[in-house]
Amino acid sequence: MQSAALEPIGGLSGVVDRFIRPRTLKGWVINRERRCGGKDITITARLSGRLIGEGRPIAERPDVVDERGYLAGFQLECSEDIPDEAVAFGRLNIDASDPLGATGTLPIYDRERNIALATVLRSAPPMGAEAVSTLLGVIAAKATLTGEAKQALVDLRTRHFSEGGATPKPPPARDPAAEADRQLMMRFESLGADCDLGIVQRSFGAEPLGLLRFSSIRTQELTAALADRLRGVGSPVLTVLSVDNEGEYRTSDRRYGMQAHTFFFEGSVERDELFGQQCKKIAYLARNLLETIEDGEKILVHHMMPNRLSEAQLQALLDAVRAIGPSPLLYVENAVADGQSGTVVLRDNGLLVGYLARVEDKAAQTAQANAEVWRSICRAAVERVSSADAARRQS
C-alpha cells in the first residue's frame, strides 16, 4: 500500500488536488488505519464557514492507495462558485469525518493555491505602493510559491509599483484627449537615471520599448556608454546576472553599471537560459536606442533627482548624444522657484531643461502624483523643439 506523504490529522488524511472552476473540487481522502472503507468518509466544503458542498469518495485512486476496491477519490460539486480569493487565502475549508469519529482537514494542494493566488493578483484592482509592498512581503515569505505565483507577483509589482517593467498593456485608446496624451508620451525616450518617465508614460497608456526605461544608470556612466556608442552593451562577456535581496534576477553591465530588472525570480527559470535571453534583449534595445537617437524624432529625457548635475556633466552628456544623432535632450531637475514646476527652457546650446517640483510627501511621491507636472513638461518640451525647428527652417 502506498499513500502520499501527508501528516494524518485526526486519523484521516487527504488533499484537494484539483480545483475545476467555478465550483468543482477533486481530491482524495483515506482512513490511515483502514478502520472503515473510504466510501464511508464524508467530505464537506465550507466557504467562509458556510456549507457549500458535501460528498463521499466515489473512485479508486491507485496513485494514492493501491488496494483494489478502496474508494479514496472524491469530487465535490459545490452549490456556489468558489472565488479564487477563497482558495488563495484560506477561506475555503475542506473537512472529512468517518462514522468511527475520525476527522481530518484536507489541505488544498499548493499548486492549486498558487494558481488561485496568481489569478487573484493578476486581476487585483489598483492599489498603493505601500499596500503592494506589504502584500509582497507577506506572500513572498511563503516558501511554497511556484514560478507561476511568483510571476504573478512580478506582474502585480510592475503594474502598481514604481520599479515597473513587465507591463499590462495600455488600455485601448480612450477619448481623444487621452489618446493625445498617450501619443505625446510616446515621443519621449528615457535616458535614465531612474524609472520616473517610464512610470509616467505608463500612467498615460504609453508603453514604448526602451533600454533605459526601467533601468538605473548614473549620469557619468551613461555619458561614457553613449560616447562609446553602447558598444558591447548586452554582450554576455560584459553582462552580469545576479540575484537581488528579494530573489529577483537582475542584470548589470560590467563597465557602465547599468542595472535592470528581469522580473524573474531565482528558481522559477533556468539561469543560463535567462542569461542568454536577457543579453539578446539588452543588445536589441541598445541597438534601437542608437537608432532612435540617430533618427532625431524622439526627445531623450534624463531625469536626475534630487541631485543637480553640474554644467560640465550636462555638456558632456549633451555632447555624447550629439555625437550619435540629432535627438533633442531634455534634462529634468528640481524646480527651485515658484511657478517653475512644469516649465521647460531651451538653452543656447540646444539643451532643454525641465523643472519638476519635488514632492516632499513620501506617500504622494509617486509617478501618478507627478504625472500632471510631467505632462506639462513634455508638452512644453515639444513646443520648444517645434519652435526651434521652425526658426531654423526660416533662417
Binding site: 493578476r122 507561476e148 510571476q151 506582474d155 510592475t158 517593467g165 513587465a166 507591463t167 499590462p168 498593456k169 495600455p170 488600455p171 485601448p172 510616446m186 508603453e207 514604448p208 520599448l209 526602451g210 526605461r213 522580473f263 535571453q277 539578446k280 534583449k281 536589441y284 534595445l285 534601437n288 537608432e291 532612435t292 533618427d295 524624432e297 524622439k298
Partner: protein, 83 residues
C-alpha cells in the same frame, strides 16, 4: 510566405513564452488580452521574428503596432522586401 505561416510560427512562440496552449492567435489579439504580454515579452516575440525571418524590427516601428495583426503585417512586409 504568408500571414498564416507567421501566425503558425507565432503560435509556437506564444506557447513557449506564456506556457499556455489556449491562446487563439488572431489579428485583433492585443497585449491587453494576454496576461503577461508586456514590453519585455514583446521584445522576446520581436527577437523571435527577427531571427526566424532574418529581418530587423525597430522599436519605433513597434510603437505603431496595436495588435497581432499589425505585427504580422509588419513582419510579412519586411520579410518579403528582404527576399
Amino acid at each position: 510566405m504568408t500571414e498564416a505561416d507567421i501566425y503558425q510560427f507565432l503560435d509556437g512562440v506564444f506557447r513557449d513564452l506564456f506556457k499556455r496552449g489556449d491562446i487563439v492567435l488572431q489579428a485583433d489579439l492585443s497585449a491587453a488580452d494576454v496576461v503577461g504580454w508586456d514590453s519585455f515579452r514583446q521584445v522576446e516575440i520581436t527577437l523571435a521574428l527577427e531571427e526566424r525571418y532574418g529581418i530587423r524590427i525597430r522599436t519605433r516601428e513597434l510603437d505603431e503596432v496595436a495588435n497581432l495583426g499589425d505585427l504580422v503585417a509588419l513582419t510579412l512586409g519586411k520579410a518579403r522586401t528582404r527576399t
